[in-house]
Amino acid sequence: MSQQEVSWNQQVAAMPADADVLTKAPGGVASRWVMVGLIGVLLLAFLLSISLGSVAIPLGDVVSVLFGGEASKATWATIVLQFRLPKALTAMLAGAALAVSGLQMQTLFRNPLAGPFVLGVSSGASLGVALVVLGVGAGSASLLAGLNLLGNLGVAAAASVGAGAVMGMVLAVARRVHSSMTLLILGLLFGYATSGLVSILLYFAISERIQTYVLWTFGSFGKVTWSQMAVFMPTILGALALSLLLTKPLNALLLGETYARSMGLHVDRARIGIVISASVLAGVVTAFCGPIAFLGVAVPHLCRSLFNTSDHRLLLPGVALLGASLALLADLIAHMPGSSITLPLNAVTSLVGAPVVAWVIMRRRNLRQSFAA
């Protein structure tokens, strides 16, 4: 044993038990700094996304308003509290939720291409929205007006019902099917079937409604009001807490289901837990923000590169932080600070995100290594 290792072991022995996740390997110290860095980036992105926009508000005023003080201009307080704060919170929660959901799906299905929507949750939500926006009482002006009155809440409710219905079906199947691969294929098939129904609805719908539907599919963090936040935030936080309980099963599943079972894991139970947690996260985000592409698939890969590990005890908080930061930044770019133009959120996540992830993956010597879920 080298001297370095000896002193290392002494260090380890001196560590309190609760610090062990971050300190056990030589790379562990680096992991800790990466985590601190991610928290810093998240804070910065949060402040920037509130400060920048069509109207730029100085950071000092932003902080003062956030802590209950006054801003230099009265309108700034309204902008911050009524528009930008809920939007920033929504982006953070949605980004974290999608990234965690994607990580869970990639590990459960041992598939690098899996994401939050592989089980058809977003397709179910789309169908719900399509039914309400396109289908209900075609031509009935009063209903359309009613829909506008209800506003986004009606859309969110429809999407929730759709996502929930698909999730229920997937769960019913998951209880019977003992192979994750079969479940994955069935999830994809659910997705295709619901997309087919949506196509039919689109085909027969009038153009204004199609536009409403298409706008929803672009995704947006700005539609969640404070009253909706009362539903959105607790649900996401609850599902994130559940996902934290599932880190140990996810680590065991890294070895495959046979080994996981041999180490005492109730694989069927764990699978149901993971499917529930991942589907609730993906379903609720889709209901309130639309189908946000890309983040769920890409963030887990970025995080594995950042932390250089597959250990979910590091990855899970890591993807939540990175997902939240990236969602904030994507939203920031979509709002084109300094101009009044707003780009579709999904266009930004994909256009900016795809090259970044491609670069990260190509930079690694061993492709298979960075893809191993």
Binding site: D20, A25, N251, A252, T258, R261, H266, S310, Q369, A373
Partner: protein, 365 residues
């Protein structure tokens, strides 16, 4: 020695309908072996041998509780495997599978630490005792230096060691390994088998491993379980099973015969005749090996015959070879019906014999 794993009138096979499966559809059951009463004792290494398709994997899976038995039961440390809680079973039994697993980006230490799963809290945090067990497991398989290496950069042999360490980290009473040496080269196989044998002595756990490496199993196992096609199982010390002929019977197949004198399998070839080799030591041994490869029955002119036959000097002998040593160099003097030739290398000798054989076969055609 204390019995740690025992089967009672165990019938293994496939086809028992699952609970909650399709109602009314009873699939036909296939019995692989029945009435098995096997014992595994603490601190012994048992090799499970048998031809392909005899049901080695089915037996292993049933013992590990991964597949329900058709009848009978398996007990580990006096508890029935099939009704035990998974978390309890994981503290008694650990497995190592043949399949090469892709764990992504974990260090060897992290992988071995996963073996602490049955002992850690809900977050999977390692306490000081867990850490000690992991270090001990790494040390037991001589993989301490691999500790912080990423598993996906390890060679197959190193990876298999780490997987065995992971199983040891479960502190099992019984360790089941399904063809642990399948993808390894010969030196690595010998190393792993010797290491496993050492583990039974140092940790006191019982090891059952299935393998196709008959020679290695004969040399390293404390006992053999010999599963014949048709579900008959013979158990005993390796040498006993060879003497009783059970070994030869289990692997009987066309074209291959078991040489009980050597403990190895040989290809059956048409006999080209007898070669008597006069010489000593390694040159004589390897000359005879080469001649046997060409299909000669060999005998040593100095000692007794190699294949257990009585010495029949010069009766239907086709070759006689004298090996002479001169200043550390060997010369082979070959005499047969046609005359006598001298070779200075074994390659020349064997290649000339092969050419002669080919020529004669062509003349016959």
């Amino acid at each position: 020695m204390e019995t740690v794993l025992q089967t009672f009138e165990l019938t293994i096979g496939y086809g028992k309908p699952r609970r909650g499966g399709l109602v009314g559809v009873r699939r036909q059951t296939t019995v692989v072996a029945s009435g098995l009463n096997l014992r595994l004792r603490a601190g012994e290494m048992v090799c499970l041998l048998g031809p392909n398709g005899a049901g080695k994997s089915t037996l292993m899976r049933t013992l590990a509780g991964m597949q329900p038995p058709l009848e009978g039961r398996v007990e580990i440390a006096g508890e029935v495997v099939q009704t035990m809680a998974p978390a309890r079973l994981a503290r008694l039994l650990a497995i190592v599978l043949t399949e090469r697993i892709d764990v992504g980006n974990l260090s060897a230490f992290d992988l071995v630490a996963l073996g602490r799963h049955p002992y850690t809290d809900w977050m999977g945090r390692l306490r000081e005792t867990d850490r000690t067990v992991v270090e001990k497991a790494l040390k037991a398989v001589q993989a301490e230096s691999l500790r912080w290496r990423p598993v996906n950069e390890l060679s197959d042999g190193e990876r298999q060691k780490v997987m065995i360490a992971r199983a040891l980290a479960q502190e099992p009473v019984v360790l089941l390994l399904d063809e642990p040496t399948a993808f390894l080269d010969l030196p690595r196989r010998v190393e792993i088998m010797a290491m496993l044998r050492e583990l039974t002595r140092t940790t006191g756990c019982a090891i059952l491993l299935s393998t196709h490496d008959l020679d290695l199993a004969l040399r390293s196992a404390d006992r053999l379980w010999l599963l014949e096609a048709g579900g008959i199982i013979h158990t005993g010390v390796p040498e006993e099973l060879v003497l009783s002929g059970a070994f030869a019977a289990a692997f009987r197949s066309s074209g291959v015969e078991f040489d009980a004198a050597q403990g190895v399998f040989r290809l059956q070839r048409s006999l080209r005749g007898t070669a008597i080799v006069h010489g000593e030591g390694l040159p004589a041994y390897w000359t005879m090996r080469a001649l046997e490869r060409l299909g000669f029955e060999t005998r040593n002119g100095h000692i007794q015959s190699r294949n257990g036959h009585a010495q029949l000097r010069n009766s239907h002998c086709t070759l006689e070879i004298h090996i002479a040593h001169h200043n550390g160099l060997c010369t082979w003097v070959v005499s047969n019906a046609r005359g006598r030739e001298v070779y200075t290398s074994l390659t020349d000798l064997i290649e000339s014999l092969m050419q002669g054989h080919r020529k004669r076969r062509n003349e016959k055609d």
